[in-house]
Each structure stands twice: as structure tokens, then as C-alpha cells.
């Protein structure tokens, strides 16, 4: 049969981001797949070197649009480690709330993508509605909907505004009461089950080969590897949550949402949050002259797609010397597509990218 070349993206509703996957198909089966990144390439890492420490908070959230806060968090954690400062206790808890809110944000967007890939658009619409509510809460807290620029080296920029507790708790109560309905719609739905179960299997060998982390690794290998548990950052060691594991990883297992855990963490964090300051300066002087002592560090957190980290080197000056971004979906997004996408049906290619949690800017940084 003749081989046909198809383009998944960049102008394709199933493509999550500014990249293209070139699919070489025979009949329905993908024979060869090539990830073509570079369409978002702005040289994030190089640009960071040309900005001073505080200016970078305007740039780093852009490394991932769907989930910008992990960037702010790892950057702030790295600077704090290098500068050797302890941030106020309240800031830790606020950061945890923000991190879990952004995780829900990313899960809702990912499920919305699942809806587009499977043709069940109701999921997309419902999820976008909830996503909007969370973004409105983000707007109240941080002043913006997508790029919050809220977690900064030294703590968080401002304290939580009055009234946001109630709004957040109300939202979570409402959202939690609707979760069974979502489960019925998505995971008990024969359309989705037939489509997702036993498709796009991620085996343990693939995980070790590529270096997949996050939900992919936990569901394929059964190991509860979660940065929040292994090397707790913020105050994740003070809250109780469960890391779900599976022994078999297909598109279905990877999609089942883990939003309940995040809601639990937000509730506990709001409960345990002490009063006090929310920010300390990272060094003396005004922000244009902040200097971070010489050294290097790797700070990592658990994003919704896996381990997300920054490797940072400082030469003791006002700008970072070098920052390297470890995108959570880099392994499966770049190498994984080439190596393991062949063999799937081409209509599952969009689903492949969605359930593997590929976020293109993490490749293109």
C-alpha cells in the first residue's frame, strides 16, 4: 500500500501547542512519526540569561501555557536554595494552594482535549466552564487569568485577598459534587471506554527507556513516584494525600482524573495556613540589583504531567548564568513520538499526544 504523509498540526484541533507531527501512514496505521518542534522557539533559556533575576518572572510562565505556575515555583525554589533564604511559613501554604489549583486547571484542559480527540465535545465544554471558574479565582488572587506571575523568589507577591477562601471552598464543594456526573459522562461512557481501553499502551520498558515521569510512570510501573512525596517541597510533607498507582497503563487509566486529591490538599492547606508575612527579599538592594550567590542547583516539583525542574547556575551576578528547563513531557513528546507512536492508528495520534500529556513549549524552550 502506498505511504501517505499527513500533518498533525500546527493547525490542527488535536494538536496541543505550536508543533507539528508528521505522520507517514499506510492505510490507517502510522508507520513513521516525526515531531517537528521549533514553531514556538523563542530561546527561553537564552532569554533568561539576559534578564535579571526579578525580570525573569515575566518570562518563565510562558514556558508552559496550560500550567504556568510550576515554572514560577521551580524558579523561585532554585533562587531561594542558591540564596539560602527561608521564606515565610504562610507563603509555603499559599504556594501549595496555587500549585494544586493549577493542577486542576491543567487536568481540566487535558480532559477537554480528550473530548476533542474523541469527538465527545460535551466534556470539552463542561471542563472549559470549570476551568473558567478557577481562572476567575486566579484573577482575584493574582490579578491575571493565565500568566499569574504570583510565585516569586522569596515567597508570593501579595497575600490572599479577603473573600477568596469562601470562593475557593464554594467552588471546590460545587465541583466535587459534580465529579460523579463527570465520571458518568466520561469514564462510564461506552464511547470513551471502547475508544480508550487497550489503546496507546505505555509499558514499563517504554517508561525506563524514555524517562517518563508523572501519571504515565505511576500507572505503567506501579511505583508511587511523586516528587511531592519523594522530596517534599513547600509543605507537602504536612498534608495528607494519596498517590494513585496502577499496574496497566492505557489511554483510559492515564485519563482518569485525580482531581479529588488536589481538592483535598487545597482544603488542608487553607485549614493549616498560618498568619504572617508572605514575602522576604532575596537579597539587599532594590530588585534591579538583586544578586544571587554563586552556585548551582536543581529544583524539581510534580507538575500534572510529571517531574518538572529547572537546573540553575548562578555566577553571583544580577542575571542567571544558565538555566536549563527539564520539561515534564520532553521525553515522551520528542523521542517518544518517534519511537513509540508508529503502530497506532492515525486517528489515535491526537489521543496519543493528549494522554501522554505532551506540552510542546516544554520541548521548544
Amino acid at each position: 500500500m502506498k505511504e501517505v504523509k499527513l500533518f498533525l498540526g500546527p493547525q490542527h484541533p488535536g494538536m496541543h501547542g505550536n508543533a507539528s507531527v508528521h505522520l507517514y501512514v499506510e492505510g490507517d496505521t502510522v508507520k513513521k512519526a516525526r515531531m517537528i518542534p521549533g514553531m514556538l522557539h523563542r530561546g527561553f533559556e537564552k532569554s533568561m540569561e539576559n534578564r535579571n533575576w526579578i525580570n525573569n518572572i515575566g518570562l518563565i510562565p510562558r514556558v508552559c501555557v496550560a500550567e504556568p505556575d510550576p515554572n514560577e515555583m521551580v524558579f523561585a525554589m532554585g533562587v531561594e536554595t542558591l540564596a539560602g533564604i527561608d521564606i515565610p511559613e504562610r507563603a509555603h501554604y499559599i504556594r501549595m494552594v496555587i500549585m494544586e489549583m493549577t493542577r486542576i486547571l491543567a487536568h481540566t484542559l487535558s480532559l477537554s482535549g480528550l473530548g476533542s480527540a474523541t469527538g465527545l465535545y460535551t466534556i470539552g465544554q463542561w471542563m472549559q466552564a470549570d476551568r473558567n471558574t478557577i481562572m476567575e479565582i486566579f484573577e482575584v488572587i493574582t490579578g491575571h487569568r493565565i500568566y499569574h506571575m504570583y510565585i516569586v523568589p522569596g515567597g508570593v507577591r501579595k497575600d490572599l485577598p479577603a473573600g477568596v477562601y469562601k470562593r475557593l471552598l464554594d467552588f471546590m464543594k460545587d465541583f466535587e459534587s459534580r465529579l460523579p456526573e463527570y465520571e458518568d459522562l466520561i469514564f462510564h461512557n461506552p464511547t470513551i471506554r471502547n475508544r480508550l481501553i487497550d489503546t496507546i499502551v505505555l509499558t514499563e520498558d517504554m517508561v525506563w527507556d524514555l524517562g517518563v515521569t508523572g501519571i504515565g510512570m505511576r500507572s505503567a510501573t506501579g511505583r508511587p513516584y511523586d516528587v511531592r512525596k519523594i522530596t517534599p517541597y513547600a509543605r507537602y510533607d504536612k498534608v495528607e494525600f494519596h498517590v494513585p498507582i496502577e499496574s496497566y497503563s492505557d489511554a483510559y487509566t492515564r485519563s482518569i482524573f485525580k482531581i479529588r486529591e488536589s481538592i483535598g490538599i487545597i482544603r488542608q492547606a487553607l485549614d493549616m495556613m498560618p498568619e504572617g508575612k508572605v514575602r522576604v527579599p532575596i537579597s539587599r538592594g532594590n530588585a534591579l540589583k538583586y544578586m544571587v550567590p554563586e552556585g548551582q542547583t536543581y529544583s524539581a516539583i510534580e507538575s500534572s504531567r510529571g517531574e518538572f525542574g529547572y537546573y540553575m547556575v548562578s555566577d553571583g551576578k544580577t542575571n542567571p548564568y544558565r538555566i536549563n528547563v527539564r520539561g515534564a513531557s520532553y521525553p515522551q513528546g520528542l523521542l517518544g513520538v518517534e519511537k513509540y507512536m508508529p503502530g497506532t492508528r492515525f486517528e489515535d495520534a491526537a489521543l496519543w499526544l493528549d494522554t501522554m500529556g505532551v506540552c510542546v513549549p516544554e520541548i521548544d524552550r
Binding site: 526579578i54 508570593v156 539587599r284 532594590n286 534591579l288 544578586m291
Partner: protein, 183 residues
Amino acid sequence: MEDILDSPRVGPENSRGYHVNDWESCIGCGTCSEICPANAITMVERDDVEEKAGTRNERPVIDYGRCCYCALCVDICTTGSLNMTREYLCNSDDPEYFYRMPTAESINNEGTGLGYQKTESSDLLDLERANMKHEAVEERKASFMEIVRGYSRDQALVEASRCVECGLCSEATQYGETTCRKD
């Protein structure tokens, strides 16, 4: 359907919308343009602003095609004159329209009030002075030693790092005055 530009939704109290600048308190130091990560701010000279010692007749112009609404300019504003409003909607088919010099009046003049403002925690200036060491009274009584010890190298670096390098002080000394507002 209602036109969103006719009756725009107002952002929450903390909203990082379009800027307002109080020209009375703005001194034209240009620190906002220094910190801007997007290089969106340029300082433009105004003939209608009187130039006094310690001020400059320049006011910030913001290119909203570049602005990323991070509000670092608000956080570092030395006089607190630059703030943000809760307005975030604006439309024009003229590209020049988005190259604006904020005044006390906001872009759509809706009267929605201020949005993002500097607070104690978001302040990016360092106003705490590094104090010079003085000789103790007992020592002073018994000798003719210089009372003020001066700055050590580290202290001098700290003190220098507080300065935003606006240059207004050196301009003012040409008139025979010292006018740094930040002590």
C-alpha cells in the same frame, strides 16, 4: 447581544489592567522602563511639564503591544505614581492607539478605580539604610579619632545596591541642590 466594548466586564480588585500615572507625583526617574521585562516602556519628554530640581520632565509611554502586564513597573515605582486599573478591554484599528502615555485618567475612563497596587510585600525597593558605624562615647571622649567609621566594602555595596540609578541627584547637584527622595 450586548457589545462587550460598550459595557465591559470589570476586573477584580487586584486586576492587572491598563496603567494610570499620577503626573503630579511622577518624577520621571525612568525606573519603570529599567525593570520592564518586555522593554515596553520608553520615557518621553513633555514640554508642558515643568522641570524642577529632582524631577525630570519625562513621563513613561507604554507600548501595549509589548506590555505583559506583569506589574513590575508598579512594584518598583519610586513614588507610587504608577498604578494599574481594573480595565483590560480596549480596541482600535489604529496601531498607534496602543502606544500610550498613561495619565491620571484611565484608558476607557470608566471610573472603575485602581486595580493592582504596590503593597508592602510586593514592594521591590529597599528603603532600609545601611548605617555607618560610630565610635562609642567612651572612645570619643578620650581621643581625637574620627567618630564616624565610614562604610566597609560590604556595607558600601549594600548601600549602593539600594540606589535605582535614576541619576536625578547628579542632575540636581548641578543646580546646587541634593534631592534624592529616597534618603
